[in-house]
């Protein structure tokens, strides 16, 4: 079975109030062919909200990359970029 790209959406307090609530809809926002290639999970806190070097909430982790100030659009772009880089998807 194909190895899916892991996506972790932070559902912690800070991320949630900084606009993370809409990120729960990520799966339905992604085009079907991309959604099929990612494994979206929630995370209680990605531990970025305690660090000063991680940028601003809300955070989403795509593979090993932390996306700060995440929005549906921004996360979808990062996902596409990483899938392309791994040769798993072409536009």
């Amino acid at each position: 079975m194909e190895n899916k790209l892991s996506v972790k959406v932070c559902t912690g307090t800070l991320c949630y109030v900084m606009g993370g609530a809409e990120l729960q809809l990520l799966e339905s926002y992604l085009p079907a062919e991309i959604a099929a290639r990612v494994d979206i999970k929630g995370a209680p806190c990605l531990d970025c909200c305690n660090r000063t070097d991680a940028g601003k909430a809300p955070f989403v982790q795509v593979g090993d990359r932390i996306v700060a100030e995440a929005s549906l659009f921004k996360v979808a772009e990062v996902i596409k970029e990483m899938l392309k880089a791994e040769g798993k998807w072409a536009e």
Partner: protein, 390 residues
């Protein structure tokens, strides 16, 4: 404190107004003063505002005199002297319960409370005392003192319940006190752990059925249930000292009851220390709160301050023990209210970003929030609350 954990005293009440009346003229009050619980049901005679005001005065007099340590006879005579000449419709019953299980009962004008040990009526003897009022004479008040044990119950029913069904084909003489007692015994036989809430509700519902759903006389019922305590541990917030992470996790692991973890970081700490997984259920919650998670050995894992804040608001708007609604806030309220002893362990480590004034919502300080929540659970819902900051 003796008997503190021996049993928990669960109290709940229900009532029905007469058909076409919205507000009852009788009053029921319950108050917890430290380890002591005082319950009073009072009626002022007649109907409407006047009766209501009289009932409120009687109830608060009984409550406050008893709290100040007056003897039951002194309480009764103060009330009856205050209403001398108009005491015809006055009725009151008070139950004074100590943590040791010692109970003092004072009854005037109402049907005698039913006291049960398991499914059997326990015939606690009443002492009849005469109270004299200026001018209009002598009144009989009844006193009883006993020590309750786990699985005992006290059921108070007003006249309206005892006479329900009067004149109908099924109950020409009314339900009577014996009918109420048999009904309560049957309810307990059917479900030995039936709650005070359910029992009060069932009694009033049955009385309403006896009345063929057209209540002719206001009904009041309260039930006291002495039962083994149900405990829940609520952990919220990371400990101030990271060296305490392990002991927090062990507390959750070894707790002899249900556990609720409110906070993503807290859940992360416990999961890390116990080598367990936290699975977020990524699903929009109807209350608009962040999603809940699952962790092995923990009853429920939720987000922290936003959830606690909503729980506090929902509880502030709740009277009785029924919380309806499909959201996480309602789930947490129901979980808390279904327990008797609620132990909060609050981590005092503060995330400075939570206090950032540019945040779109103001995040209340966790410890203040939990303090308010604890006070609410203690004062309004009569829970035994323990609060610990780590």
């Amino acid at each position: 404190m003796p008997g503190k954990d021996r049993f928990f005293v669960e109290v709940d009440a229900d009532r029905r107004c007469e058909k076409e009346r919205k507000e009852p003229s009788g009053v029921y009050l319950q108050k917890r003063y430290g380890d002591r619980i005082l319950l009073v049901a009072a009626e002022g005679g007649g109907y409407g505002i006047r009766a209501r005001v009289a009932a409120e005065v009687v109830a608060s007099m009984v409550l406050n005199y008893a709290r100040m340590g007056e003897t039951p006879v002194a309480v009764a005579s103060s009330v009856l002297r205050t209403f001398a000449g108009e005491e015809g419709g006055i009725r009151f019953t008070s139950v004074d319960i100590r943590a040791s299980g010692d109970v003092r009962l004072l009854e005037f004008g109402h049907p005698a409370c039913v006291i049960l040990r398991g499914t059997e009526e326990w015939p606690v003897e009443r002492e009849k005392r005469l109270v004299e009022t200026d001018g209009n004479g002598r009144h009989e008040v009844f006193l009883a003192e006993f020590r309750a044990e786990a699985e005992d119950r006290i059921v108070f029913t007003s006249e309206g319940i005892v006479v329900s069904g009067f004149g109908t084909r099924r109950l020409p003489g009314g339900w009577r006190r014996q009918g109420v007692t048999d009904f309560v015994r049957a309810c307990i036989a059917e479900r030995a752990v039936v709650s005070a809430h359910t029992l009060s509700r069932r009694i009033v519902e049955q009385a309403e059925i006896n009345e063929l759903f057209a209540v002719r006389k206001e009904m009041h019922c309260f039930t006291v249930y002495f039962r083994k305590p149900r405990r829940i541990l609520v952990c919220s917030g990371p400990p101030f000292d990271r060296g305490k992470d392990r002991s927090l996790a062990e507390l959750v692991r070894d707790y002899p009851g249900e556990t609720l973890v409110c906070g993503g970081t807290t859940a992360g700490i416990i999961a890390r220390e116990l080598d367990r997984k936290v699975d977020v259920i990524l699903k929009a919650d109807p209350s608009g709160l962040p999603p809940v998670s699952r962790m092995e050995g923990v009853t429920l894992v939720t987000e922290g301050v936003l959830t606690l804040n909503k729980v506090k608001s929902l509880l502030s708007a709740t009277f009785g023990t029924d919380v309806a609604g499909p959201g996480t806030d309602a789930d947490v309220c129901r979980l808390l209210l279904s327990h008797d002893v609620i132990e909060f362990v609050v981590g005092t480590c503060i995330n400075p970003l939570h206090q950032d004034p540019t945040l779109p919502v103001e995040l209340e300080l966790r410890r203040n929030l939990v303090r308010e929540l604890a006070a609410l659970l203690e004062n309004r819902f009569m829970k035994e609350v323990r609060l610990r900051f780590v």
